[in-house]
Symmetry: C2
Subunit: 105 residues, 2 copies
DNA sequence: ACTTACCGTAAGTGACCACTTACGCACCTG
DNA sequence: CAGGTGCGTAAGTGGTCACTTACGGTAAGT
């Protein structure tokens, strides 16, 4: 999936990963996250935007504040991507075991 | 795990992801990869170094050339990382269903 | 209506990273 | 030993991105 790439990029950044991990543990407002992290509130907003586009979080208005919570979709996409290569690796390994290494090209 | 972060960073780059995907499909030499990709051979070498440090590929000398093949370790680390949050999400969702949303703070 | 709180966006800047060319080293062939 | 091939590393550079400050917009409080 194309989403898997976005998820990889999104979780590649350490700060963004921290944001995601906190949101995954419990829904948070932007201010809460910024207060717990060593970056400014706008930075958190930008990170949340990337995470949202990757399908890793979703947001909803709660009065004055805006609550972000984890969205399984993004994780599922990345899992599917990984499983693809995981199975490929197993198949390749199985083939390598069944057949002795033969010279090629 | 700490390795999961390295895997996320490694697979975050598009070119590096292409390198990994080709190696995952079949063992390749550096020259083969460089020939199939729109970057120079040193670039491929640098990408392979990162992938190797992330536990995604392993290399072995084959005469003059150097063969890279997929290493399941890195994928497994990332899978474990994802599963952690996956289960966390399921637990949170289950709690949210069982209990109506109550005000807090 | 005025003030305060919370948030997203715009613009600008510094640092990191992917890429290139140049070079040195190991292995095979004649 | 000399020539050729395959690879990794060093050094340098351009582009991208994470971060900051400044600003506008919406919702609650008095």
């Amino acid at each position: 999936m194309a989403r898997a790439a976005a998820v990889l990029v999104a979780l590649g950044d350490p700060t963004r990963r921290q944001v995601f991990e906190r949101v995954a543990g419990r829904p948070h407002s932007v201010g809460e996250l910024a207060e717990a992290l060593p970056v400014s509130r706008p930075a958190v907003s930008q990170h949340l935007k990337v995470l949202k586009q990757a399908g890793l979080v979703s947001d909803m208005a709660a009065g004055n504040r805006r609550i972000y919570r984890m969205e399984p979709r993004g994780l599922q996409d990345l899992r599917a991507y990984l499983d693809h290569f995981w199975n490929q690796a197993l198949a390749a390994f199985k083939t390598a075991v069944e057949q002795p290494p033969k010279e090629e090209g």
